[in-house]
Structure formats: structure tokens, C-alpha cells
């Protein structure tokens, strides 16, 4: 009987890395002179150290246990922001040296692993589709009294936001695609150079920050954010909306079922 033990091999690949080892094992299993044991060992028997309990009889929190998506995301943002700071310093030093050649921004972005606005454009396209389905299910525009509540509980990841007003005047005009919507801030990925701000469209020289792009953390408190929703069926027309950041300080999951209330407007 000539068999290639396809099924057995398939199983064994999950336990053993090298194919030669598997073949050796199978040959040993089925040959007349071999062991001819009626069982097969899957997986390497690994010796696991017994978990050391802490004094108060609880399992200690190891590094692996701390590992989750939220902290990873947080670490990623922290690292990227630190990298951005480094890159800005580098650009400033380069500008001081008065070199003729322009700074190789593109290469450095890759080197420091700074995300680019263009990477998130598909996310924005997805968001536009989602919003269109959410707001205009019948293809016509319902009255604003229906649209606004829906939008207030909508997901904003992927939305192209612009800071219209802010207590921090440096932030005004910043725009980008929302990467993460946290309780107190929007983390947005901003475009570079002439797209970076509304009034930069015809400018020639840009600050290091504008040259770099990357991500920005924009506090919700005390800011107004504007965004556009493209109407379904037409590529040209859109409806603009404004988010009042001070009233939007909730986590996304809390916001979806939130009953909003009017408050004193002294802080707006």
C-alpha cells in the first residue's frame, strides 16, 4: 500500500515545524519494523512551570496578562508622538544648517513610522458610506430634527474633522481624519504641506509641524469641530455639521445610548 499520509501530515503540521521530522515519525509509525504504537503524540510535551501564587493567593499580573488592544493602541500613539517630536527637532536642526537641498521628509516619515494622511483615506470613504446609510436610508434628506440625533450617536472614526474654533488658537484650522475617538480628545491624522490648513493652500513655505503631518491629539473641551457629509448619489453636494466639543466628552460606547441634556452655555 502506497500512501502519502496526507491527513496525518496535515494534523502533524500543527504540532511539528519541520516536514522531515513528520515524515520520520510517520515512517516509524507505519513501518513493520517500527514501534507500531497504536497512538501518536501530537505536540511537544512542554514542561510548564507551575504558576507561582502571590502571598495573598492571587495569580500575579504578568506582562502577557497586561497585553491588550487598548494599551497597545495607547503605546502606539505615545510612541508615534514621541517620534514626531524627534523628527521635528531634526527638521529644525536641518533648517538651521541652511542646506540647499530640501529635507527628505518622505524618507524620514518612513524611518520614524509616522502614519500619513493618505493611508486613512479609505477609512474616510468607508465612513462616508456608513454615514450616508445612517442618515439617508431612503435616499432623500429627512428633516434635521431626525438627522441630528442620529448623528450625535454615530461613530466618528474616519470622519474628516476641522477645528473651527478653539480656546487654543494654535489648533484652529487643524484638520484630519479621526483615528481614535476617546473620551476627552479626538486623535486625528493630519495631511501635510498645502493641505494642512485652510489658509495654507497657496503658501510656499511650511513650518516643521506642517511638513510632517502625522497624528495630533485635539482636546474636545472648548473646541468646535466641523465636518461634511457627502449626499448620496451626487459627488458634488454635501451638508455641513458642527460638533460642540465641550458637550461631546463621552466615550464612544457611552455616547451611543446617551440621553443628552441642555446645559449652561457659559463655557461655549
Amino acid at each position: 500500500m502506497n500512501r502519502d499520509y496526507a491527513i496525518e501530515k496535515q494534523f502533524l503540521t500543527r504540532s511539528y515545524d519541520s516536514s522531515s521530522e513528520i515524515e520520520l515519525l510517520l515512517e516509524d509509525r507505519y513501518s513493520i519494523t517500527g514501534g507500531q504504537k497504536p497512538f501518536m503524540v501530537f505536540g511537544k510535551p512542554e514542561k510548564q512551570a507551575p504558576i507561582k501564587l502571590e502571598d495573598n493567593n492571587t495569580i500575579p499580573i504578568t506582562k502577557e496578562r497586561k497585553y491588550n488592544t487598548r494599551t497597545e493602541l495607547k503605546n502606539y500613539f505615545q510612541q508615534t508622538l514621541a517620534n514626531q517630536k524627534r523628527l521635528i527637532k531634526k527638521i529644525q536642526a536641518y533648517n538651521r544648517s541652511k542646506s540647499e537641498k530640501p529635507f527628505p521628509v518622505k524618507k524620514m516619515l518612513h524611518h520614524y513610522k509616522i502614519p500619513e494622511f493618505e493611508d486613512f483615506i479609505p477609512l474616510n470613504t468607508l465612513w462616508q458610506k456608513y454615514t450616508q446609510e445612517l442618515l439617508f436610508p431612503q435616499k432623500n434628506i429627512p428633516p434635521m430634527s431626525i438627522v441630528l440625533p442620529r448623528l450625535s450617536s454615530a461613530d466618528l472614526n474616519g470622519c474628516l474633522l476641522t477645528v473651527l474654533k478653539s480656546k487654543n488658537h494654535n489648533l484652529v484650522g487643524t484638520r484630519g481624519i479621526v483615528v481614535c475617538d476617546t473620551q476627552h480628545s479626538f486623535i486625528i491624522c493630519v495631511p501635510r504641506n498645502e493641505d494642512s490648513k485652510e489658509w495654507n493652500e497657496n503658501k510656499q513655505e511650511f513650518s516643521p509641524l506642517e511638513m510632517m503631518g502625522g497624528i495630533r491629539v485635539v482636546l474636545k473641551k472648548g473646541s468646535l469641530f466641523g465636518f461634511d457629509v457627502v449626499l448620496p448619489g451626487s459627488e458634488e453636494e454635501c451638508i455641513g455639521f458642527t460638533i460642540i466639543g465641550s458637550r461631546f466628552e463621552f466615550r464612544t460606547s457611552d455616547r451611543s445610548g446617551k440621553k443628552f441634556k441642555n446645559h449652561n452655555v457659559d463655557d461655549l
Binding site: 479609505p122 460642540i244 443628552f260
Partner: protein, 294 residues
């Protein structure tokens, strides 16, 4: 920018429309205010609590022809912005159910309580922007700091109209001008004491153009009743702006979270067209570019 949130509309009630001569007098008041530097003006429509609202005809709920007025005045006087306001005179708190129905049709909702119970109700239950009093007569109740303070914390402001003291005659013609002035000042002092100099706005309430005063005169009055410089100035600039923002957000936004239009203006005078071209705004152009580039 100076604000005047009370220019009474000539007719009180739905049955009698304003006559042309009244309308001209009313427009003269607005023009006078404009020349004195007031740019944001609210037209006040006063309602008694027992007036039946034409609920079946929603377009008649607001009798002020805002669009024609804006067409007439705003083009000739650049920078002028007109808003509508309704003032409901409340005596018995159980009767004022109509306020909720008026909400979408006026920019500012105000209440004039005539009893202490009504004032308490306004501060606790009603969703309003402004509380005004008739200062020409002696107030029938004592203004408590507790009620007034809770209202101020909620964002409700208190209004002082100076037209009665300027004109010397008010809603009640029975009393003479001296009594009116005496009442006015004692009432204003009581209000200022009640709300600890916070949350006060000053508006004209002028039915005639001659009753309007410029900001300097207003500030002088406020200083005589004991407000310091910055607080007096806030009465004609900052506080009225907040009243307007509060009122406009009620109409334009969903519970102060999201509103339509993204020109960065919370107040926004006219109703903005909901649709616009992508290429008109800068962020729209970026969006278009992004959609093309993908």
C-alpha cells in the same frame, strides 16, 4: 458687539396684526439702535398666558415677519442681525403649557413671572433663556437669592428694561413717572442683590425711537445701581450673547451636541441652506481630492 434683546413688536396677540404706521415706528427704533452701535437685535413678541395659540397653523405661531424685516433692514444696514423672541407672562404656573409648542418658532424664549410661584417654576421646570420683570410697578414678591441663584447656575439670565424709566410711563398708566422711577431703582437693586451681580442683561424695551439710549448711558445707569465696570459691560455684551447662543442652540442643535452648518458660528442669524457645494469650502476641497485620489 452690543446687543439689545428687547424691541417690542407692536402687536400683542394673534388676532390683531401690526398696522403700517406701527411697523414704521418699530423700524425707526431698530434703525436708531443701529446708529447707536447695537448690531444684534431681538424682536420681542409678548404673550399673555391665557392666549390661545394657533397650534393648527404652525406658520402663524410666530406673527413677526422675520424674513421681510431682514430683507428690508439687513441689506441697508450691514452687520445688523435680527432675532425673534417671545415673552410669556406667567401668573399661574399650571397654565403655561404653550411654551413647549413655541420652542421651534422663536430664537429666544423668555418668561415674565408675576408671582413668586411662577418665578420658582421658571427656574426649575421650564427650558427658557431669559426671565424679565415688569420693573415699573412694585414687585409683588421678594426676590430670593436661592431661586435666582439656581436660575443663574442653569444659564438663565435676568433682564432689566430701561425704557420705562426713560419714558416715565410704563404698562400701567395709572402711576406717575416719579413712582415708576422709584420702583425701577428699588426693583433693580433687589434683583442685583438677589443674583449677586451675576447673570443680568440690559435691554431697551423701547417702543419709541426716542427711548433708546447708547451704551455709555446704560453703563452710567448700571454704575449708579452699584455694578462695577466689568460687570456692567458684561450686561450689554457677554451675557446677552450667551442668551442668544443658548436660544439659537435650542433651535439649531440636538441638545447642544451637533448642529447643522459648519461655519464656526454658534448663533448664525438666518437659516443656512442645508446643501452646499464641496468645492466651496476648503475642507470640502480636501475631501474631494481625497475621494478622487483613492
Amino acid at each position: 458687539m452690543l446687543y439689545d434683546l428687547n424691541v417690542p413688536w407692536p402687536s400683542n396677540g394673534y388676532s390683531v396684526p401690526a398696522t403700517p404706521s406701527q411697523t414704521i415706528g418699530f423700524k425707526n427704533t431698530i434703525v436708531t439702535l443701529y446708529t447707536l452701535g447695537y448690531r444684534q437685535i431681538a424682536i420681542n413678541f409678548q404673550l399673555q398666558e391665557n392666549v390661545k395659540l394657533p397650534i393648527n397653523q404652525p406658520e402663524r405661531l410666530n406673527p413677526i415677519p422675520m424674513n421681510t424685516l431682514r430683507d428690508d433692514l439687513c441689506e441697508k444696514f450691514p452687520g445688523l442681525k435680527l432675532y425673534s423672541r417671545v415673552t410669556l407672562i406667567v401668573n399661574d404656573p399650571s397654565k403655561c403649557q404653550g411654551l413647549a409648542k413655541l420652542q421651534g418658532h422663536f430664537d429666544i424664549l423668555a418668561v415674565q413671572p408675576t408671582s413668586e410661584k411662577a418665578l420658582q417654576l421658571c427656574t426649575i421646570n421650564l427650558d427658557i433663556d431669559l426671565i424679565s420683570f415688569n420693573f415699573a410697578t412694585k414687585l409683588p414678591f421678594f426676590i430670593k437669592h436661592k431661586t435666582v441663584g439656581s436660575a443663574v447656575d442653569k444659564g438663565i439670565k435676568f433682564e432689566i428694561c430701561y425704557a420705562t424709566v426713560v419714558a416715565g410711563y410704563g404698562a400701567d398708566l395709572g402711576i406717575n413717572s416719579q413712582m415708576i422711577r422709584k420702583n425701577f431703582f428699588s426693583n433693580v437693586l433687589q434683583l442685583i442683590r438677589g443674583c449677586r451681580s451675576r447673570g443680568i442683561i440690559v435691554s431697551s424695551g423701547a417702543t419709541l425711537a426716542s427711548q433708546v439710549r447708547n451704551s455709555g448711558d446704560v453703563l452710567t445707569i448700571l454704575k449708579t445701581v452699584g455694578l462695577d465696570n466689568s460687570r456692567a459691560k458684561a450686561c450689554v455684551t457677554l451675557s446677552p450673547e450667551r442668551v442668544l447662543v443658548n436660544g439659537r442652540l435650542r433651535v439649531r442643535s440636538y441638545k447642544q451636541t451637533i448642529l447643522e452648518g459648519n461655519d464656526g458660528d454658534l448663533v448664525g442669524s438666518e437659516d443656512v441652506p442645508s446643501k452646499k457645494r464641496l468645492a466651496d469650502s476648503s475642507s470640502g476641497r480636501l475631501l474631494k481630492k481625497a475621494r478622487k485620489g483613492e
